[in-house]
Amino acid sequence: MQKWINEASWDRVVRVVLGLVLLVLGWGGFVSGGWGLALKIIGFVPLLTGLFGFCPIYALLKFRTNRA
């Protein structure tokens, strides 16, 4: 396992699902206006951090949900 990964499997799956839900809400037109635009962008954050297993905020706080 690469050393920079700081998320456990469950954490990653939750992030990917959350990211996809936000993106579907934004890009799918379920939420419109400013919130819709925000969701279109913000959804990528949990999606990408989940897919790559690295959370910069965890790293800043020296926290991790997986085993070192």
Binding site: M1, K3, S9, R12, V13, V16, G19, L20, L23, V24, W27, G28, G29, K40, F44, L47, G50, L51, G53
Partner: protein, 174 residues
């Protein structure tokens, strides 16, 4: 070790060699040593482990472009076949020895779970883009994500990546 001594050693040996650059003050090197020695023992007939103290081999490090330690370089018939910098776990080390002894390329791509996650999320984004009348951004992002799940299996990537890496090394290293 001097560069010409190293080159002579690497060129003259028929056995694949795994070279480790380490230093006594390097904590990751020390942490990796038991695993490295264990894997070397497991493959003692097929692969030679050559450990070089970086502190006394500055010129060699400069010539090989080694920018950090620990660095592990695999040599097959005198040619460098892979290079990894940073501490490796026992599985990664064993994979290096196995690749060298079997004379096959070292692959280190995403884990199967990562592949499924990336391909699934990428596909979901592509479907989302298509369902909304062909939205470019979700579709492009989806394709890119899906590609990160299989990039190491892509023949075009495999062909271009080493050339790109060698070009970058040439441009950015003295």
């Amino acid at each position: 070790m001097q560069p010409d001594e190293f080159t002579q050693h690497i060129q003259s040996t028929q056995t694949p060699t795994l070279v480790e650059f380490w230093a006594p003050w390097c904590a990751p090197c020390r942490a990796m040593t038991p695993d490295l020695e264990r894997a070397a023992e497991e493959h003692r007939d097929g692969v030679t482990l050559l450990r070089i103290n970086a502190d006394s081999s500055h010129e060699l490090l400069r010539q090989l472009g080694v920018m950090g330690i620990p660095t592990l370089i695999g040599y097959q018939q005198g040619q460098e076949v892979f290079r990894r910098t940073g501490a490796q776990n026992i599985d990664g080390i064993r994979e290096m020895f196995t690749a060298l002894s079997a004379n096959r390329p070292l692959r280190r791509g995403p884990s199967p779970a990562d592949r499924v996650l990336r391909l699934g999320a990428g596909l979901a984004l592509v479907i989302l883009g298509l369902s909304q009348g062909g939205l470019l951004l979700p579709m492009a992002a989806g394709l890119l994500l899906a590609f990160t799940g299989i990039y190491d299996r892509c023949p075009i990537y495999q062909t271009l990546a080493p050339r790109l890496k060698s070009l970058l090394r040439k441009w950015f290293l003295p």
